[in-house]
Structure formats: structure tokens, C-alpha cells
Amino acid sequence: MTDFGLAFMRRRPCAGISVRQLRMTGRGDLLATGFSTDFHPAKIHYIEAPNGAGKSSLLSCLAGLDSPGSGTIDVQGAGIATDDPAALLAWLPPHDDFPLPVSVIDVVLAGRWRFHRGSPAASDITAAIDCLRSLGIAELSALSVDSLSTGQRRRVNLARVFAQDADVLLLDEPFSGLDEVAKRRVDDCLNWIADLGRTVIVARPR
């Protein structure tokens, strides 16, 4: 398999997630009657459901942004420090939302916040550019996000998620707005990352 140049990601044992009886009222059929499944490391999991079914709510629950009505989410650990949720989970939101101009490189560097805490080192910058390159948008690094197309913005956000180097990647509709070439590229990257041991969870519309 081609090397995608994500050199900063090492192959290592990663955590998985177990969900039992997760329920949220009013958020769609998926979470209406208790959702249970296991997400295993080194695999890509696809959650395919029509719009409005509750995919985004499920992912945001897993990301720790929303509280479920009932149910449990457990981390099946491989010695991971669970007190740093950013090392555990990285989240791609369903929409890209940048009301104020930010530069592409800053967006991706933000993904590495837990490493640099505001003062990015050379390694962070390298990692960020590697993520952009792996998605084929390295030449955009000096631009502002509000001058990009929808598809480009999606990939920038995705690059940020990669840069975070978390165990579990929660990707909410990562292919939306992308053309066929880009979709294939993203797909290949995800396979590569899963191969390195990460747990990849993708939500996409049916």
C-alpha cells in the first residue's frame, strides 16, 4: 500500500469503544431504542442511515459533546490514558463552519493543540503539512478557509482530525462535497490510518 506520508502516526495498539443501550429521545430512529455495538481498533466502521436518523447525534455523544439520555459508552482500552479525551477521540463535525477568516495551516495546527498548547513546534508544523499533503491539498496551506470551496474545506477539517493523532476518529460525513477523485483519496487515507491501528468510525448517508 502507498505510503501517505503521515510519518508522525505510528502503528500502535489503540483503544476501541463499546456502546451499550445508548438512547437519546427525539434524535432519530438510531438512538430511539437503545443502540449497542462495538467499535474495534484497526478497522473502519461505516454507519449508514438516512438523513435525520441520528448519526450526528451518535457521533457527538461518542465525542463527549452531548450526553445521552441513558446507556453507556466504554473505552476498551489498550493502556490509553483516558483522562485526556483529546488523545482518545478526534471529531469531524458534519458541517464546516468558519465565520471568521482563519488560515488553513492554523486550522490543521489547531488539531495538534494537545501537543503544542499554542506554541507550535517544527514537528507540529511538519505533521500539519503532511496531513494536508496526504489529502492532496498541501498547496492550500497559506490560504484563508473562506476562500476555499466546500470540498476543500472538508478536507482541511479532515486534515485537522488526522493531525490530532487520536486513537478513535469520529468522522461525520467526511465525503460530503467531494468529487470522485477526492473521495477515493480520502478512502485510501482512511484505510491507511486504520491499518496503523486506529479505530475509524464513519457516518454517511444512505
Binding site: 459533546l65 471529531w91 471568521l100 498548547r117 499554542g118 476555499l148
Partner: protein, 328 residues
Amino acid sequence: MTPELPRRDAATTWILALLAGATFTLCLMSGVSGELLEFNRDVITNFRLPRTTLALVSGGLLGVAGALTQNLFRNPLASPSILGVEAGGSLAVTALLVAGAQPHFAPAGALGGATAALLFILVFSRKSSVILGGLALTTAAGSIGSLLLSLALSDPGRSGQILQWLMGSLAGRGWGDLGRALPMALAGLVIMWRAGPALDTMLLGSRVARTVGLDVTRMTRVAVASVALLTAAAITGGGLLPFTGLVAPHLGRAMTGRNLLPIKTRHLCVRSFALGAMLVMISDLIARTAAAPRELETGVITGVIGGPFFLWCIYRDQLREKSGAIHD
């Protein structure tokens, strides 16, 4: 090998700082008591130096507060007054003056009211949205202030003093006013500087920021504290100066060349300081020379300049949006 980050626009920031300095010198040399650029030492040191310095500091602080507010709420139309700090300060000053205190206690009132508003907002932001708290504070303070003002209507001298403070006058302000504002100003600036990178991350949205490991609740409160400190210092030193906190950061953000990166929060704050300072210094100059021997209120002039200018900024932004951006 360290990869090169694309160049950030530091040149504009430096130019703005220099312009602010030039404006300061110009204002020191202009006034009613002589021709433009006439050099009269007593007048300068006793009147213009403290007053122009205060204008520079107040305007700068409000500019920075505006930059922080806009980045915190991710809204280029936000201004520091949404936190309710100015409303709290105004209410306290009105209450003090209506109760019969001597007008030179007004700054103490402003400080007390602003601090009370600051603490209220900090406590409120634990439970609920900061914007709601600020809105509640502004509305309540406004109504109570009007009530108190109506009680003072029969005393034209007193109500005149209150109105003058509300309109933002730098007349007769001296070094004491500057000294009173300085500790909180410095505190606000230090906190701002340290919170800069975190605020850049929060530009991605509070949910995303949380997932990358930023303590969003805490950083929000830190930013709010900084804005409140800066605003409190500004109104203690200079009174209410509307639109400064709105126009300065808006302009500062717009002044970036097409091929350069959008600026980070720290740089935006420096630029907003310079722009806010210039706005208030120029307004102050107009206030004390345009209608001599009468003096206009500086706050009124910032509104008169800032309001239409802001409308023009919005109009120009909309034009650019229609023609420039690539959309799918």
C-alpha cells in the same frame, strides 16, 4: 528541516503602531489655544498630555476588548458592550450622582459598577450563556438608570453631569484618571496576551475546540474576564466611547493583504489597540477644537465617526462577498 510557514502580515501592524504614535504627537500639538502645531509648553503638559494619553489608552483598551469579543463570539459585529460591563458602570455612576455625590467620585462609581458587572458575568457564565447575562444586565441597568435619571430631572446641574458622563467626556481628565485605570488595563492586556493562541483555536467553534483538548468553558471565562477588565479600565479612565470596540477590530482584520495569512488574535489585538487609540484621539481633538469655546463630548464624536464608518465597512464587505469568494 523546519518548514517555512507562509509570511504573516507584521508590516501592517507596525505601520499602524507608528501611525498611532504620529497621531498622538499631532494631537499634542493641536488645539484651540494657538495655531496648529504651535508649541506652548504649559498648555501641552497640563492639558493635552494627560488628556491625549488617556484618549490613547482608553481607545486602545476598547479596541482590544472589541477584538477579543469578536473572536470569542466568532462574530465580526460583536462589541464589548454586549457583556454589560459598560451598562453596569453607567448605572453606578448615575446612581452615585443622583444620590448627591460629588462628580469627582464618578470614576469610583464607574469602577465599582464595572467590577460588579464583571463578577456577575463570570458567575453567570458558569451556568448559562454569557450573551444572555450581558443582555439581562444591559436591559436592567438601562431601565434602572433611566428611573434614577428621571429622579434627577428637576436638578438640571446634576442631570447635566450625568448626561455628560454618559456621553463620554474627556474634559478635565488628568493623570489621576490614567493611574486609576492602569492596573486593570495591564491585567486585561496580560490575560489577553496569554489567551491569544487558545482563542485562535476557539475560532473553529466551541465543539471542535473541545474535542482537540481545549477547556472551552475555562477559556471563555478567561476571555470574558479580560474583556471586562479592559472595558472597566477604559470607562474608569475615559467614560463611554461607543463604537470604538466595534470599528477598530473590524478594520484591523480587514487590513490584510490578499496573499497573506489572516492574522492571529494577538496581532489583531495590537492592531485594534492602535486603531482604537487613533479613533479616540482624533475624536477628542475634534471634540475640543470643532466648536470652540464650547466643548463637545468625545463619546458623541466617536459615535458620529464610527457609526457611518461601520456601515460603510459592512457595505464594502458585502460587495466583496458578492464578487470575490469561490463557492461550490
